[in-house]
Symmetry: C2
Subunit: 459 residues, 2 copies
């Protein structure tokens, strides 16, 4: 074990305290009520990078939330890695389902619980600590390192591409290492080489201009919840397949390499459904079918629905409006704009008379992505994971969306490798999000090794 690795493990408690402090900041990017937390988290991260030894640290303003940039050039001739991550987090709702408060990080059973700890503050803090350890032990980094940490990943990164375009020269690098993403399963190391795209929509149906008494007006006034459920209820068939006309237009046949990975995964559907506490639906015959649906088919999910009275007890009201939040995952060939148009057409065609509907796309969305399979750095990342985790990692796709791969390729002309130590079962986006401290320890060693190897001429 190298001096850097020794240093990292000897200082693990300090690293955990840093992570707790980072997670106490409620940096929810989607909700304006939390914008103080966004600023605070950006400042915290900038300060931590400075303390780690980065001579250049800047908060880069965007049209939305700021990004944090840091740079340490060891040698202009050495390779340059740009570390990507995000300091924003998902909303903590529903608050009453957290065993300990979302923004009071707590350790139980070698796990640390708190909003954002797995997605992405824990995985992001790892390369910061690794860089610091190199500077403390060897006095220098193995190669040139830049950081670019955004604050809008959970909001669909609306200003990320403009940020890359604006700062193209300063961000120049040979490779992006993403601290965001997720290991696929705790018992099986994996690297993510493909992800679905994404588009998010907000649908609002309006009926009467004000809330009405449902006894007095029931039978004559038009209830927007009724219109909404009728329109949304016609978007899937009885088995949950999307039946919106035009939704899959342009979708390409699946990549044979991902089909091969599905075959190799030997995924067990029954175990999966037990883990999410839900009976297995009939159409999902086995693990192969399950992964095909998660990786290779587009989705249309209702993330939220809202209308009328939702408090305890009842209220006899016909509300003025009802709304739903929809997000879709896209496969190769689908575009956010075309999917939004198909959904809007579906809704408008089914809108009963007497109602109005608005369909708003939230953020630019992103197309599906896959990485160059022959990238040498990918093989190096796989080798490090294989050494530390005892078996060669599987190349997997991801149902979730990491739009940054495509963005870095487009603006900086480099590939991005997802090298995150978050695991997909860590309830990110749900109550009781956690991060395994074992992953934290492994991640520190893995990043230390990978940076060292990427510095070698073989790369």
């Amino acid at each position: 074990m190298s001096a850097v690795e020794d240093y990292l493990l000897a200082h693990i408690e300090e690293g955990i305290e840093d992570l707790k402090a980072f997670c106490r900041i409620p940096s929810v990017s989607t909700d304006p009520a939390f914008h103080g937390g966004i600023r605070e988290a950006a400042a915290f991260l900038a300060d931590r990078l400075r303390r780690a030894g980065f001579p250049t640290v800047e908060v880069l303003e965007t049209a939305g939330h700021p990004a944090v940039f840091a740079e340490l050039i060891r040698d202009p001739a050495a390779p340059t890695v740009l570390v990507y991550g995000h300091y924003d987090v998902q909303p903590p709702d529903p608050l009453d389902k957290w065993l300990t408060p979302a923004f009071e990080p707590t350790i139980r059973d070698d796990r640390i619980y708190g909003r954002g700890v797995s997605d992405d503050k824990g995985p992001l803090l790892i390369p910061v600590l690794v860089a610091e350890a190199y500077l403390k032990t060897e006095g220098r980094l193995p190669l040139n390192i830049k950081f670019l940490v955004e604050g809008e990943e959970e909001s669909g990164s609306p200003n990320f591409e403009p940020l890359l375009a604006t700062h193209r020269d300063r961000l120049a690098c040979d490779l992006v290492l993403s601290a965001d993403g997720a290991m696929w399963r705790p018992d099986l190391p994996s690297v993510t080489v493909a992800s679905r795209g994404q588009v998010a929509l907000e649908v609002t149906v309006t009926g009467p201009s004000k809330d009405l008494h449902s006894g007095r007006h029931g039978g004559s006034a038009q209830n927007p919840i009724r219109a909404l459920v009728q329109m949304l209820g016609a978007m899937h068939d009885a088995e949950g397949r999307v039946i919106v006309a035009g939704f899959k237009d342009g979708a390409k046949p699946p990549d044979p390499r991902i089909i091969a990975a599905i075959e190799a995964a030997q995924f067990d559907a029954e175990t999966y459904y037990r883990s999410i506490g839900s009976p297995k639906p009939d159409p999902i015959t086995d693990g192969r079918e399950l992964l095909t649906r998660q990786w290779l088919e587009p989705t249309l999910e209702f993330n939220g629905i809202s209308g009328g009275y939702q408090g305890a007890g009842g209220k006899t009201v016909i509300p003025s409006t009802a709304s739903a939040k929809i997000s879709c995952r896209l496969v190769a060939g689908q575009t956010p704009a075309e999917v939004t148009a198909a959904i809007a057409s579906h809704l408008e065609a089914r809108l009963p008379k007497g109602f109005a509907v608005s369909v708003m796309q939230r953020g630019p969305g992103s197309q599906a992505f896959f990485i160059d399979p022959d990238l040498p750095a990918l093989a190096q990342a796989e080798a490090v994971l294989g050494e530390l985790l005892g078996q060669k990692p599987l190349r997997v796709a991801m149902g979730a969306t990491i739009p940054i791969g495509a963005a870095f390729r487009k603006h900086l002309e480099v590939e991005a490798i997802f090298f995150s130590f978050s695991t997909a079962d860590e309830d990110y986006h749900a109550p009781n999000e956690f991060f395994r401290l074992s992953s934290f320890r492994t991640g520190l060693v893995a990043w230390a090794r990978l940076l060292d190897r990427l510095a070698k001429p073989a790369h």
Copy 2:
């Protein structure tokens, strides 16, 4: 004008202050968060009845919220009127749509705005002030008066029938006058002689045992919002007619007297739809069709729907549960239990595999009601209204539910006349509920006259 009427109008400002004080108390019965307000409102009313001169005033406990009882027997041989009303109010949501706060009653343009001012605190305060005026001016009431004011009307009166059964002897009377109910239109005096029944349900669909990331799990995990909208979306046809099997079983043909009232009403559908800010749907051809739907047809309305993330921005979640609040208005022949069973069967038959559904009936519900058309007191009430409002009132039905008529008939064997000065356009159950001060003044005079006439042997 009698001395009593003079007294009432001379003291109108004090009456308005009393009403404001009553309306400042947030006595929302459906939401446990407001239970302090319930107790406070019951105590306020009991105190006000004592100050009015009632020697016997008691807070009667029930299994839920208490009722307030008062009694003043002028002469055991004189007729006895029991005044009914309720001191509880609807929830104030959505709070942000109120021009002035829901529990800070405010006068604008000869109207007083506040939650509960029209339903039912204003109309209920009128007979209290009238009784006080008789005692202050004549030293006695024209007849025996009892009050029974409940605190659960907006919760479906779950403990009202047991209350009547328990206190049957103390509540004995010759006639009930209800201060609850509503005049039908501000420009046309009316008495309500029939109302639809009601039943309220809460439907919850459960999918996975916890919230899941919709990117990671989308395509494999079952989304309960999808199941809910599919099941609810199949409860009405495209024109809004209820198509739940068995829903209308047992419904009797409409009462010809109510059909005659609809013919007499000359109701204008276009004016109605302008007043609620909604275009007229095609199936509602005219005012006759509109009133037929409001008075003579059952409804199934979604009062609330809730699931997943509802805050600002988005959250890529597949929620664990989704739920809806449903209430139905029933016509003669339908029973709450049968309607609940029909809805539960509809939902269970359509529940996709992989989900669970629970259907909970909230409160006992009530059947439709109509009053004896030959009741002499009804003619006297109509005569008073005719004198004060300039034209003979129309006998109308009510889309909303007043279950107390049937309850008084069943337990006390008396009829109830709705003698309320609330008007149906006063946005009760909606933001910016108001009560016309002109109705307050007219109501005081009308109650003074009606009590006087009911004391006469002609009755």
